[in-house]
Amino acid sequence: MGTGLNPSYFIGLSAALFAIGMYGALSKKNIISVLISIELMLCAVNINLVAFNKFLTPDAFLGQIFAIFIITVAAAEVGLGLALIIAISRRRETNNLDDLDWLRW
């Protein structure tokens, strides 16, 4: 390899980013910050895919194409999620995720 970096560095970085995102997604009260943390986790996955693309399949571009699709789906998810949040906050005067339990039996 022409570079001193190997995939372990990037996997370590994306694991740390994923762990931070998971911590945020589990421990936050506000709905929007949970959505932000999910974005962080998707970003970590993208770093992983692009790193594998560079080091394992440089010619086939599989990782980068997967990353493009993930970015597309994440953009759709954020748009839909924010629309749901705005719709919920018009019905209910809260943005605490633990208060949204009216589907519970």
Partner: protein, 172 residues
Amino acid sequence: MENVYELIAFILLGGMVLGSALLVVTLKNLVHSVLSLIVTFIAVAGIFLLLNADFLAAVQVLVYAGGVCIMVVFAVMLVQRTDMEESNPVNWRFGFATLLGGGIFILIGLFAARSQWMLTGTEVPKDTVGTFAPILLTEFVIPFEVAAILLTVALTGALLLVKEVKANGDGS
């Protein structure tokens, strides 16, 4: 010598990614944490540049740092009713989430450090877009079109969700 520069760039960008991601989950003010989310996304675009993915870096800056973050800031302004200073609290799952996140990081780090890599010696082609646009439009053309339909349906649905609730609110 080039390796040293790459390593320095990786350490700087990685530190920026992790530091601003930690700020995202620890800051008290939700608007400030969205602002540091923008920093995170731009640093991740730098990591993509380091990995010879220049088109993805541009898409990352345009879609995430430009589009998604502005949308999130607008949603924060629309939704937040109480004081913005304490808008990002943690709930009772704090300790559990810390344990789970740390455990996952340690587990993946251990596996990544112990693994042996069978690297192909080839480099990523210089002309990234010119190489993968034909692949995207021949081999992956069906997922590509499905992604287009997904985007259209999701954003139309989002519009409909917001609009319908507003009509109900006016009517009642």
